[in-house]
């Protein structure tokens, strides 16, 4: 199983390398983080757990029965809403998720913009949608999963859609979770004759168990590295500090970082921050991604797990 996953990863890597930098990447929603907790951890969530893992690695669906909803603002020009629910179902783990991005496109040199340009806005009302269903199971101690996605981009009333596929594997090594996923395998879309490729991505990462620091504090560390279709290598990582003064009451501080696109026009900050408050199974999450100039991103979410 691990061997076939390796083979698949190599195939996709080769494909992404050959096609690197040859066309814009779309839909835009596929290039954004799907969850608030993951956002706070610099999107190093390929080995994560909880509902939002459906946006990162379908192999991890069965770890926790969980649902989440979140809302993210990019400056004042764009809003993303996400919903996901995952959990074990007999011997299978299943999940469903939706990402919906409402934004204003400048549509100057291309109909497709980058995430870093979201806060800038533009004259064209646009939206980006991803609807996902996923399933996974354990085979010989290794969790495997696959997700099918319907993706759609609508720029100024002109839209196109298509299908995409995610594949993932994960397992525990000691108490640490190791995950590998290949996301957004598919043909691509086009707007007014301008083709865009899916942002195919190969990611590998780890997610630590809860590390007891003192009798009230725990630490969780997440790390990942991704190869994007445009050829960029994106390392990412994050850490969460849990403070639990009383059983069931948990306060979390979160910091993350990831490599962002460089260049004079890029406004993304590599640092992300976040926090959560959990009361038994209910969690309130917040994430913040600063920006150089206007357009910092704020995100709030609710999780039940």
């Amino acid at each position: 199983m691990a061997g076939s996953a390796r083979g698949l990863a190599i195939l996709v890597l080769a494909a992404t390398t050959a096609q690197a930098q040859s066309a814009p990447l779309a839909p835009l929603a596929l290039r954004l983080s799907g969850g608030t907790r993951a956002s706070g951890l610099g999107q190093a969530f390929v080995a994560g757990r909880g509902a939002e893992v459906i946006f990162f690695n379908p192999a991890q669906l069965g770890i926790l029965r969980s649902s989440m909803i979140s809302l993210q603002r990019f400056g004042s020009a764009a809003t993303q809403g996400t919903f996901a629910t995952v959990g074990p179902f007999g011997r299978l783990a299943i999940g469903a998720g939706v990402q919906y991005l409402d934004y204003q496109s400048p549509a100057t040199t291309s109909h497709f913009i980058r995430p870093a340009d979201l806060a800038a806005g533009g004259p064209f009302n646009s939206m980006s949608l991803v609807a996902t269903v996923a399933a996974g199971r354990v085979i010989k101690g290794i969790r495997v999963g696959a997700a099918g996605k319907y993706v759609q981009e609508n720029v100024g009333g002109v839209r196109d859609g298509g299908l995409a596929l995610d594949l993932g594997v994960a397992r525990e090594v000691g108490r640490t979770t190791v995950g590998l996923s290949v996301q957004n395998i598919g043909g691509g879309i086009g707007i007014l004759g301008e083709p865009a490729r899916l942002p195919t991505r190969v990611s590998a990462g780890i997610f630590s168990p809860s590390i007891l620091l003192t009798q009230y504090f725990d630490l969780v560390v997440a790390l990942s590295v991704s190869r994007e279709r445009d050829g960029r290598i994106v390392p990412a990582g994050g850490a969460e500090l849990f403070y639990q003064p009383v059983e069931g009451w948990i306060f979390v501080g979160r910091v993350g970082g990831r490599r962002v696109e460089t260049g004079l026009t890029s406004k993304e900050s590599p640092v992300t921050l976040g926090g959560s408050f959990g009361l038994d199974r209910l969690w309130l999450d917040y994430a913040f991604q600063p920006s150089r100039g206007d357009g910092a991103s704020h995100r709030i979410g609710i999780r039940i797990q």
Partner: protein
């Protein structure tokens, strides 16, 4: 910024503190109950006269601990325990083997020994820990007992069973069997050249265990007399060692059941201690084993169970400490109510040392401690205790579990009568855990001596509960002036309503008069029950005996042991969690009372104890309440158990 942060911080602090329940401790009656020392003997927790030496024995190949590798003074053969314990999964079994360097088929017989510097022979006492993080080795945690007991002339071995800890279950047969393998090794040490040649008193062996180890000592006690392993009779046993004493510290019960039945035990002395604030074994489950111990061979045996208020699970082991649920357990356990660790260990020193002296060395002067903790009040840390006790002279009149007829007793010819009781029912004594019981039955007796009506001071004849025995039974048991009435009793929180007034049948009933019925007068509103100071006062009741001539004598039960209201215990930190996690906030532990018939004779010299006919509990001291009564009987108790009770 500070102005904005301050309200948020205050709100946060308030919300966190709001979900933590305030520390709730019961009113401590120990200044009164433990005020007097009536036992005249040296304090058994005092260090003895022997210099203490230490050594290690074991496989000599231990991968993790130098003391059981190059540190061993005596080498032992490893034993095959694979029929008794297995890993949870093949992968975890492999991980365990990798860590320890051996599997279940090659378990080392490792022990750390404290022993007296003297010629001997000395009684052998093994102590074994229970389940804990297997990498945080538990066996060094009984050094305080090792130092004390070795100085007092015992060989104390803390047995290494860390390799049975961690993520396995149902392995308590292995823990018990390993103890017997250690005794086997000690027989060899005693018979072979070496530091213990001829120094081990193998006729006087004591086994002590903590938590799962507490159950393991009972398993070992049972296996010791069996010819075969009950769950696989292809394994023959040939132990039959001189095990005279078992001590269970906060034990679990039922983790292993031989042939799927609760572990039976007979003809051995048994002491079990448990803490009210146990955050691991949160109910006094050792009472189940206590109840199952039978004395059948005519020898002098006894059993005692002691509950210590504000003691936890782990402080009896210096490695385990106060966090019963692991290093992060301060998040869910309320540790504020615990007694200091040293106090908890001092209690263990007193009880364990006295118990071993009494059972392995014949020091009978300590026996009264196990009947009534009040006789050594000043030796004990100041907190509340409940003691259960039974010795082999006990004959059961009523144990309330043999049938569903409430008017008959356990022994033939016993009859039971109740008068003016509001509650009279038999049932199984529950444990604090939901859907768990203490493995024996009792009778619930509720009373309210007030007569219903506007006059709140009007009371009727006090309620009573009588157990009568036949002449033949009295003769068969040899009841006489040396006998005593024995029973165990607990109070409950239930308070029945007042008695109905008897109808005056001499007057015409106006409600049956001809003509239209008058509407019934509106009953006065029931006042809301408000806890009063009286609710926290001890319950007072009397016990009366009557001989066949009708001569009676009555004594207050409280003279023979505290009759407390139920003691509520909150173990968990989060508000409301105890209520949702446990069936009861308080544990029903009946206190035992042994009342010599001679005391009744002193109160009424005309009473003839050899013609005892009836024992009666008279609820004459407290207007209303409910008690649970069990193990009612008569005993021809050895007078050595009867140190004078504090008055």
């Amino acid at each position: 910024m500070t102005r904005r942060l301050l309200p948020s911080s205050v709100a946060l602090a308030l919300s966190v503190s709001g979900c933590t329940q305030p520390l709730r401790l019961a009113r401590d009656d120990s200044p009164t109950v433990l005020a007097h020392q009536t036992l005249t003997a040296p304090n058994p927790s005092a260090r003895g006269s022997f210099a203490v030496r230490t050594l290690y024995y074991g496989s000599g190949k231990d991968k993790q601990r130098a003391e059981f590798r190059e540190g061993v003074a005596l080498r032992t053969k490893s034993v095959d325990g694979s029929k008794f314990a297995t890993g949870p999964t093949p992968a975890l079994t492999k991980d365990r083997k990798k860590y320890w360097g051996f599997g279940f088929d090659s378990l080392p017989v490792n022990g750390r020994v404290w022993y007296p510097d003297g010629p001997g022979p000395f009684p052998l006492v093994l102590v074994v820990h229970g389940n804990h993080n297997m990498k945080d080795f538990s066996d060094p945690g009984y050094g305080y007992l090792g130092e004390l007991l070795a100085s007092r002339g015992y060989i104390l071995v803390s047995v290494d069973e860390n390799f049975l800890n961690g993520n396995i279950r149902g392995e308590n047969d292995a823990r018990g069997w390993m103890l017997l393998q250690h005794v086997k090794a000690w027989k060899q040490f005693n018979d072979s050249a070496g530091p213990f040649r001829g120094k081990v008193d193998l006729n006087n062996i004591g086994l002590m265990g903590h938590s799962r180890g507490g159950e393991a000592v009972a398993v070992a006690g049972a296996f010791n007399r069996l010819s075969h392993y009950p769950d696989d009779a292809t394994i023959a046993f040939d132990f039959n060692y001189g095990i005279k004493a078992l001590v269970a510290i906060a034990p679990i019960d039922g983790q292993y059941e031989p042939a799927s039945r609760p572990t039976p035990l007979s003809n051995v002395n048994y002491l079990v201690i448990h803490g009210s604030h146990d955050g691991d074994v949160s109910a006094f489950s050792g009472l189940r084993q206590y109840q199952r111990i039978r004395f059948t061979d005519g020898g002098r045996w006894f059993k005692s169970a002691v509950w210590m208020y504000r003691a936890n699970h782990g402080q009896w082991n210096t490695v385990w400490g106060n966090k019963d649920g692991g290093p992060a357990s301060a998040r869910f356990l309320d540790l504020r109510g615990l007694v200091p660790a040293e106090d908890q260990r001092q209690m263990a020193r007193v009880y364990i040392s006295a118990f071993l002296d009494a059972t392995l060395k014949g020091r009978t002067e300590y026996l009264p401690i196990f009947r009534d903790h009040r006789v050594v009040g000043p030796w004990l840390p100041r907190t509340m205790y409940v003691t259960r006790f039974m010795e082999s002279g006990f004959h059961s009149l009523a144990s309330f579990g043999e049938d569903v007829e409430v008017a008959s007793g356990t022994a033939p010819g016993v009859t039971i009568v109740a008068e003016s009781l509001a509650t009279w029912k038999e049932g199984v004594v529950p444990l604090r855990w939901t859907n768990a019981n203490a493995g024996h039955s009792a009778v619930w007796l509720g009373w309210n001596n007030r007569i219903a009506g506007p006059d709140t001071m009007k009371t009727g004849k006090p309620a009573s509960y009588s157990v009568s025995l036949s002449d033949s039974l009295r003769s068969a048991w040899g009841v006489g002036s040396g006998s005593a009435v024995a029973f165990s009793l607990s109070t409950t929180t239930a308070t029945p309503g007042p008695l109905s007034a008897h109808k005056d049948t001499t007057k015409k009933d106006s409600t049956k008069a001809a003509g239209p019925k008058k509407p019934a007068p509106k009953p006065p509103p029931t006042p809301k029950k408000v806890p009063t100071a009286a609710d926290s006062l001890p319950i007072e009741l009397s016990i009366e005996v009557v001989d066949s001539k009708g001569t009676s004598a009555r004594l207050p039960v409280g003279r023979y042991g505290p009759v407390r209201r139920p003691i509520e215990v909150t173990v968990l930190k989060r508000k409301g969690r105890d209520k949702s996690n446990f069936a009861n906030l308080w544990e029903m532990i009946p206190q035992s009372y042994v009342i010599p018939l001679a005391d009744f004779v002193a109160a009424a010299p005309a009473l003839d104890p050899s013609r005892l006919a009836t024992i009666r509990w008279v609820f004459d001291g407290t207007r209303a309440g409910t008690v649970v009564l069990t193990d009612v009987g008569l005993t021809n108790i050895d007078p050595v158990f009867l140190a004078p009770a504090p008055r």
